[in-house]
């Protein structure tokens, strides 16, 4: 058994006093794809944003519990969120390249991190790893916004890789893409997991079943009296098990498409 990359212990998240995620505990292992699935509003995005402290940017967000990253609590008092994000990359739902050239998009992270080396080589390597190099090698100075949606998303992956992170978080990376572009992203994830640990949020169960090694099912719990709702982790385990022999009735209902 390898050391986990993340060890999340009793994680509670609230926004302006309203609980959004309750008592989540799970370990995320290296060089695996971990999928977070669940119905809308169950806290999937909230969860993944805790892993690189993006929730710090939301006014009123409060995080309790531990998120151990290689044995170090990223919410520890002496931890700088900027450093955390340099180790843990993120790809968003909508492709969001900067209005700069393709080259400058990929070079963004290395530049702000004071990269001292062959930047051209790093940009090429990142684009190759993101399976985009052949399509853009002759237009590196062209605007990234001229690329198609799928290419933009792969550019965003290349941009995240260029910082040489150790984890890549993907928040529904293919939900704004067409089926062909989606397949390319999924293939790419299989390549990337040779070197990186990947956590992907998806509301597409087939996608989770296709790409991931482990799956976590989050579900919304409702307090009937106050009508407040929050997300809980229902079940977590190898993807095959979650989809074929779920232990929990709610997981079974969800993966068999009975609700959600």
């Amino acid at each position: 058994m390898t050391e986990p990359v993340f060890s999340v212990n009793h994680l509670n998240v609230s926004y302006g006093g309203n609980l959004a995620l309750k008592d989540v505990c799970l370990d995320i292992h290296p060089r695996e794809i971990t999928a977070i699935i669940g119905p809308s509003g169950c806290g999937k995005s909230t969860f993944i944003r805790c892993l690189n402290r993006m929730n710090d940017l939301v006014p009123g967000a409060q995080v309790e519990g531990q998120v151990m990253y290689h044995g170090e609590d990223i919410y520890g008092a002496d931890i700088d969120p900027v450093t955390v994000r340099r180790r843990i990359g993120m790809v968003f739902q909508r492709p969001n390249p900067f209005p700069k050239s393709i080259y400058d998009n990929v070079a963004f992270g290395p530049r702000i991190n004071g990269f001292k080396g062959d930047l051209d080589e790093l940009v090429e390597r990142s684009l190759r790893r993101a399976a985009l190099w052949d399509e853009v090698k002759n237009k590196m100075r062209k605007s990234a916004l001229a690329l198609s949606g799928g290419q933009q998303q792969r550019l965003c992956i290349a941009r995240a890789i260029a910082v040489e992170p150790d984890v890549i978080l993907m928040d529904e990376p293919a939900s704004a893409l067409d089926p062909i572009a989606t397949v390319r992203i999924e293939d790419l994830m299989q390549e990337l997991k040779q070197e990186y640990s990947i956590v992907i949020v998806t509301h597409n169960m087939q996608q989770a079943a296709r790409v991931s090694d482990k799956t976590a099912f989050l579900y919304t719990e409702v307090d009937e009296e106050s009508m407040s709702r929050w997300g809980i982790l229902v079940e977590y385990g190898p993807t095959g098990g979650i989809f074929t022999k779920p232990l929990d009735k709610r997981t079974e209902d969800y993966v068999s498409g009975r609700f959600g």
């Binding site: 940017l57 340099r86 700069k100 702000i112």
Partner: protein
Amino acid sequence: MRAPAQSNDARPLSLSALARGRGFGRTLDRVFGWTTAVSGSLVLVILAFMVLTTTNTALPVFTSEGISFVTGTEWLPSRGVYGILPFIYGTLVTSTIAVVIAVPISVGVSLYLTELAPSWMKGPIAYAVDLLAAVPSVVYGLWGVFVLLPLFLQPAAEALSSVFGFLPIFKGPATGLSYFGAGVVLAIMIIPIISALAREVFKAVPADDRLAAYALGATRWEMIREAVIPRSRPGLVGATMLGLGRALGETIAVALLVGSSTKISASIVQPGYSMAAIIANQFQEADEQGIRALVGIGVVLFAITILINMAARLFVWRLVAER
């Protein structure tokens, strides 16, 4: 089995019948269209009328002075010599000083308000900045002369001159009633305009861009420098141009502070004049030819404003096209 043919009365209303039923709404629509068209063209009519009449009034001076109206450096109405270069120069210099001071401050104010300020401070500061825009310019002018001049403009002009006096543009003897003094007060006057626009420009930067920068490990400053500012550049140029436009045409505050010297001075800490200021100051005692010359200054000022605006538009187009 085939479905039975539909009976006639179950058919939907024909298109012409639908249109008939809405006669009143359609008339209103036409009236509305005409009203807006008239308002729109009225602006063009007024503008054309102004350009034609002012040019016509100034025509005798234009023809008698020729090109030396704009290139001449001598303004001697008593001898019928009308060279307005010192005023063109003064307008450009005071406005440039104003923009150079106002743009960085406005960008700073707007960035603070959109990116950094705690939310309880945003409202009051934004309100205060907007309020600055509502102060009449004569108040700025008087405040400049009676408060800012002894308190800041005079000492600052002297300090600039004593430190950088070896440069022609800061050569003494320095006075606060100068291009510099007028430029500083103009800067204060255009800060609210530029910063109000810059604030909107910064707010319009997509949240996605900010998140992308943060997720790559950018600090707040790096996020602003790399994600917010580049997106905002065309908008900032536009904001600057609006401020510049106000500075070019500002009259009373400049008239009170510019020092009223009809001679060109290379030094910004020495007195000069601006186009709008000389019109305001000399209109009352000018003879007929003098009035024509002053109107001519107005025509030239108008032309300069148009030229600068066109240049700015070209510049913004280039910036946007580069993306």
